[in-house]
């Protein structure tokens, strides 16, 4: 067990000081409903350091996916600014890859064609496509299923197809929205290890949205805890894991400390809602 020795819990993000890879300032998002408006998010300030593994946890409907949409350039903030690599985000920026919360594999394409989809659209040279797709399919453990259609795969495998499809584009910022939601704990653990390996190999910046506190605690450099809607960050928890970690950290006492801290934050938040009226 190499990981987690001497890790500390640091309340606020020191990465924020350096030139951030992505940066949100005072970002809010309001949806127009037929008869009213819905303040879904913010104001949110966030700095993602280059190469950081950052996780977001928070109650359902607090605006996590909305936050991701803004970083991906899929929707514009109501107010505030969003930047990626120093440039304001307008439309989907180059170098950003997204794995959505819902299954986004294309049911009419087999695994290989799914993974190759983005590259083909981008007009990459076929030989290069083949090379990258082979690598990603192998990496995600989908080699035996390259010719299968998504319907023949389990939910977890389909999610892996989507991850592979995002990976082959070699994004510098990877946004993952509860990618393991459909999986049981065991498979999550394995997928987490693979995600860590991937992160080390590509040195991309990762933002992972999850509702599993232990997943956030095990994988991330830093965990952002969001309040209920309109979601704002109420805490940032530094895990202090080494870069070279894997799922073995779950059996260290420090893992228990981090999860306990995250749970406590959420419990306080939950009690607030309770007293405000039953959810």
């Amino acid at each position: 067990m190499t990981a987690a020795s001497g890790a500390k819990v640091v309340p606020l993000a020191p990465h924020a000081a350096a030139q951030p890879h992505a940066r949100l300032r005072g970002v809010t998002r309001v949806f127009d409903l037929p008869k009213s408006t819905l303040h879904a998010l913010g104001p949110v300030d966030l700095d993602l350091a280059k190469g950081e593994f950052f996780s977001v946890v928070g109650p359902s409907g607090c605006g996590k996916s909305t936050l991701l949409d803004i970083l991906a350039g899929l929707s514009a903030p109501q107010s505030g600014t969003a930047e990626f690599e120093g440039k304001p985000i307008q439309g989907v920026p180059d170098g950003v890859g997204v794995v959505f919360q819902e299954d986004a594999s294309f049911p009419w394409l087999n695994v290989r064609d799914n993974v190759a989809f983005g590259l083909r659209r981008a007009g990459v040279d076929p030989a290069e496509i083949a090379r990258r797709v082979d690598y990603a399919v192998g990496f995600m453990g989908l080699k035996d299923f390259a010719a299968s259609y998504p319907a023949q795969l389990s939910g977890g495998m389909r999610q892996r197809v989507c991850i592979a499809r995002t990976l082959v584009m070699q994004p510098r910022l990877i946004l993952l929205d509860e990618p393991f939601g459909a999986l049981d704990q065991q498979t999550r653990l394995l997928m987490g290890d693979e995600l860590l390996r991937l992160w080390r190999e590509t040195s991309a910046t990762i933002l992972l949205i999850t509702h599993a506190l232990d997943e956030a605690a095990m994988l991330s450099d830093r965990v952002g805890v969001m309040s209920t809607r309109p979601g704002t960050f109420i805490d940032f928890v530094e895990t202090g894991w080494e870069k070279d970690r894997d799922s073995r950290v779950v059996s260290t006492p420090h893992f228990g400390d981090i999860t306990a801290r995250l749970w406590e934050k959420l419990r306080i938040e939950a009690l607030k809602i309770m007293s405000a009226g039953k959810g």
Binding site: A72, L74, W108, R121, A151
Partner: protein, 248 residues
């Protein structure tokens, strides 16, 4: 496989039963001729080419009407889908559509389109188009939003998204509409011919009925039955291919 076998056995048994009933005169020859005779009669009229003009007209009209309903229904579906307020207003009407006795509008169509195939096709299209509209709406509704978002992530143009993502995603539902359009085109064309027209297989059946030519009548009925069954089976095979990729 055994289900298929069972089905074949049942159908064959029913045919044999009817055959026996006819052969032993329990069903009088004036009411119905034996299935084997129907086949013989069908062979005869196909060989003689006596009805080939009618058959050609009918199946051409069905084909045209299917194509028109599919295209029109799809286009209308897309338009209605993109105008939610129109859609809200129209949906309760669509739900009651099949209650309207379409064929009474024939006199209007003959004024608009003239006597003959065009009016018949118009009636069939009127009957068939709504299932395509409904299927298109259903298909477009069921495109998961995340697939469109994925298109955006790959920075695809609107047209490319429509062609490479939305269309394939909606295909299985659209195909359901195509299947229904075919069925209703059959019903529309043949029923109109039967009731209103002076040509086509439907007319030929009514005519044979009038003149007690049971041989011709049952041969033509059998022809329609066989064609419907073949077309249906063929469409079901395609449908299952399309669905097989989607379902576990």
């Amino acid at each position: 496989m055994s289900e298929k076998l069972l089905r074949v056995i049942i159908v064959v048994a029913m045919i044999l039963l009817v055959e026996a009933l006819c052969r032993f005169g329990i069903i009088p020859r004036m009411v119905m001729i034996a299935p084997s005779d129907m086949v013989v009669e069908l062979g005869k009229i196909l060989a003689s080419g006596q009805f080939s003009a009618d058959i050609r007209i009918t199946f051409t009209n069905i084909a045209i009407s299917t194509v028109l309903s599919v295209l029109l229904g799809f286009a209308a579906g897309v338009v209605i889908y993109s105008l939610p307020s129109l859609r809200n207003a129209i949906e309760p009407l669509l739900a009651s559509y099949y209650a309207v006795p379409t064929f009474v509008f024939y006199p209007i169509f003959i004024t608009l389109f003239g006597v003959g195939s065009a009016s018949i096709i118009a009636i069939a299209v009127l009957l068939a188009v709504v299932s395509m509209v409904t299927a298109t709406l259903n298909g477009l509704d069921r495109i998961p939003r995340v697939l469109r978002k994925t298109g955006q992530i790959y920075r695809m143009s609107r047209v490319k998204t429509a062609l490479l993502i939305e269309l394939p995603a909606a295909t299985p539902y659209l195909f359901t509409g195509v299947k229904l359009s075919v069925a209703y085109s059959f019903i529309g064309v043949i029923a109109s011919e039967f009731i209103l027209s002076g040509a086509g297989v439907g007319y030929a059946i009514a005519y044979a009925y009038n003149l007690f030519e049971n041989g011709h009548m049952y041969a033509l009925m059998l022809l329609v039955l066989i064609v419907v069954t073949i077309v249906n089976t063929f469409l079901n095979v395609i449908d299952r291919r399309l669905q097989a990729r989607r379902q576990r």
